[in-house]
């Protein structure tokens, strides 16, 4: 174990934990703001700390404080097994958090001939890890629903369990067809496979190579994470809040946060398996490292443009109507954020300039490429999370029998057929 490997391992682990945990408030905020966007209103944007409202993200922290300070309430009819009732949300949350750890955030770093994975949990069986740990998550839902001793909770738990069983099959089969195509079970190797081109002009992403399996994967992951249009386990109009009817305060918050972490993990799996992970289309890691000065120059041009557009958008939108007398610190916030953004841009420009033209250090170059890939990963992750949220607020919920019908009658046969055709094509190409 060299120092570099320890540093990279610790950094990757911290990055994984932060990406999973710090996205929760951002996702809650995005959920509310996008719901408002769809429903033509503004959403939460007033809560602030010293005038900083950051578009309303601060509201999520206020919510956390509220949930922490709420009274812990236990239903009095739960006599035996209160500990399991309390443990159930923790199982769901922990499983969702652990499943995220197998996702690679950047390509393998090569330092002094040592290959270091930028992955919180550097294992070769990332896909299997996700499937295995993802199955534990539903156990928390089932235990919680059973321990509530409540009809609605029992119905919700049964629905969640049977839905997971019926959608695990198409999910597993579609992932198997990806494994057959990429010839690996390792997430990182999957992303590397997708760096080439397909038919000469398309990026070789899973969605172009395996369109049917990609669609099945996305649908079954929506069902696995209990998101709309598959929220039958907590269908408010039918069974109150489903499995979490009796859970209050922080116990409810655990389920709530577990749902967002699971959604984040599902987005990460989707972009890793079918949208090229941390990679920019048409550009592989080796290409970026080989033409580092060109890469640095294009970044140096792109970053100021993006920051300029962002600042202009902020100046336009972070204001109040001219008829309102006080803007309660919005101008001040815009000014501070603009200065911070410009300062960061200047710093990044200086570092890139130094690395590209004055220093000749492969270490610095590979680290900057790694950071760039992490940024690309986060951008893709957020884009897919927004897709998840948009679907929730635009598509109505399926009825329970429709969900089962879709899973068993359409997705399962299609996934089987796709696997069969994939195997035939792969054998035909390789022989």
């Amino acid at each position: 174990m060299s120092t570099a490997s320890i540093v990279v391992a610790v950094t990757a682990f911290v990055l994984g934990a932060l990406l999973a945990l710090l996205t929760i408030p951002v996702l809650v905020w995005l959920e509310r703001r996008i719901a408002s966007l769809v429903q033509d209103r503004l959403g939460p944007n007033r809560t602030n700390v010293f005038g900083f409202r950051l578009g309303g993200v601060v509201q999520s922290f206020a919510d956390v404080v509220k949930l922490l300070l709420k009274e812990e309430y236990y239903p009095s009819h739960i006599k035996k097994g209160r500990w399991l009732f309390m443990l159930a949300p923790v199982i769901t949350f922990a499983a969702a958090l652990l499943a995220f750890m197998a996702i690679p955030f950047a390509d393998t770093l090569h330092i002094d001939g040592e290959a270091l994975r930028v992955q919180a949990l550097p294992i070769d069986y990332g896909v299997l890890w996700y499937l295995a740990i993802g199955a534990i998550g539903v156990l928390g839902v089932i235990f919680g629903g059973w321990m509530s001793h409540n009809k609605y909770a029992l119905l919700g738990a049964t629905r969640a369990g049977s839905m997971v069983i019926s959608y695990e099959l198409p999910l597993g089969l579609s992932i198997v067809s990806f494994i057959v195509t990429y010839n690996t079970m390792d997430f990182n190797a999957m992303v590397q496979w997708q760096s080439g081109t397909f038919f000469g002009f398309l990026p070789a992403w899973g969605i172009f190579v395996q369109p049917l399996a990609a669609i099945i994967l996305i649908i079954s992951l929506f069902a696995e994470t209990n998101r709309n249009p598959f929220t039958v386990a907590e269908g408010e109009s039918e069974i109150v809040a489903g499995y979490m009817t009796e859970h209050t305060a922080m116990k409810f918050a655990m389920y709530f946060m577990g749902e967002y972490v699971a959604m984040n993990t599902a987005s990460a799996v989707i972009i890793t398996v079918i949208f090229g992970g941390y990679q920019v289309p048409w550009v592989s890691t080796e290409m970026m490292l080989a033409h580092f000065s060109g890469f640095a120059l294009s970044l140096m041009i792109a970053i100021p443009v993006i920051v300029f557009l962002l600042i202009r958008w902020m100046r336009k939108n972070n204001t109040v109507r001219p008829t309102v007398s006080t803007d309660s610190g919005r101008n001040f916030e815009t000014k501070v954020l603009s200065i911070a953004l410009i300062g960061m841009t200047l710093l990044i420009e200086a570092i890139l300039l130094y690395l590209a033209f004055f220093a000749n250090s492969p270490l610095g170059e590979s680290i900057s490429v790694m950071l760039f890939q992490i940024v690309v990963f986060v951008v893709k992750l957020m884009a897919f999370n927004i897709f998840f949220i948009l679907i929730r607020w635009t598509v109505p919920r399926f009825r329970y029998d429709q969900v089962q019908h879709l899973g068993w009658y359409y997705l399962l046969p299609l996934a089987l057929l796709n696997l069969f055709v994939t195997a035939l094509v792969v054998v035909g190409v390789n022989s």
Binding site: K80, G81, L84, I123, D124, Y125, L128, W129, L131, A132, I133, G134, A135, I136, V138, L139, I142, F143, G145, W146, M147, L154, A157, T158, G161, S162, V164, I165, E168, M185
Partner: protein, 175 residues
Amino acid sequence: MLEISIFAILALFMLGGSITMIVNKQPVFSAFGFLVTMIGLAGMFALLNSQFLAIAQIMVSVGAVVVLSMLTILTVNAKEENLPKEPHKFKWILFSSIVVAPFTLLVYKTLSILPAHFSDIGTINSKVVGELLFTDWVLPFEILSILLLSAMLGAIVIGRDSKKKKKKSQKRRRL
């Protein structure tokens, strides 16, 4: 030292889980004990540096067995007073553990004199397992799948028959 302490913690979890599973009257707590045992077993495999086996263990035992048994418990939804009474449970547990003890010793002795290449786990990964399953061990693999299929068919047949019997018994009761 670290390995031994991790082993001890996992073993404690496994022992506690399996005792919970046997002793408890409520099937939910038994299922939870089984879950803890299986995760502890997966941890044991991971401690032996056999990642594939550990993950497969979680996938099969937790993802399939525990979820399905929990689903059965949810569907049956037995009340506490309807659970079967077991007055001599602890006597039975003691008796059966005494009966099983020599066999455990036998298994231990057999496993400790296994040839060396059995314990060489460094080379076992999913590719090796897959190739072995479809070349050297293809016959046992197929026989196992037939066994599972027959179990499934048997379950379906039993489920159908009991329905008919129920109807008959209901008729008899009415008569």
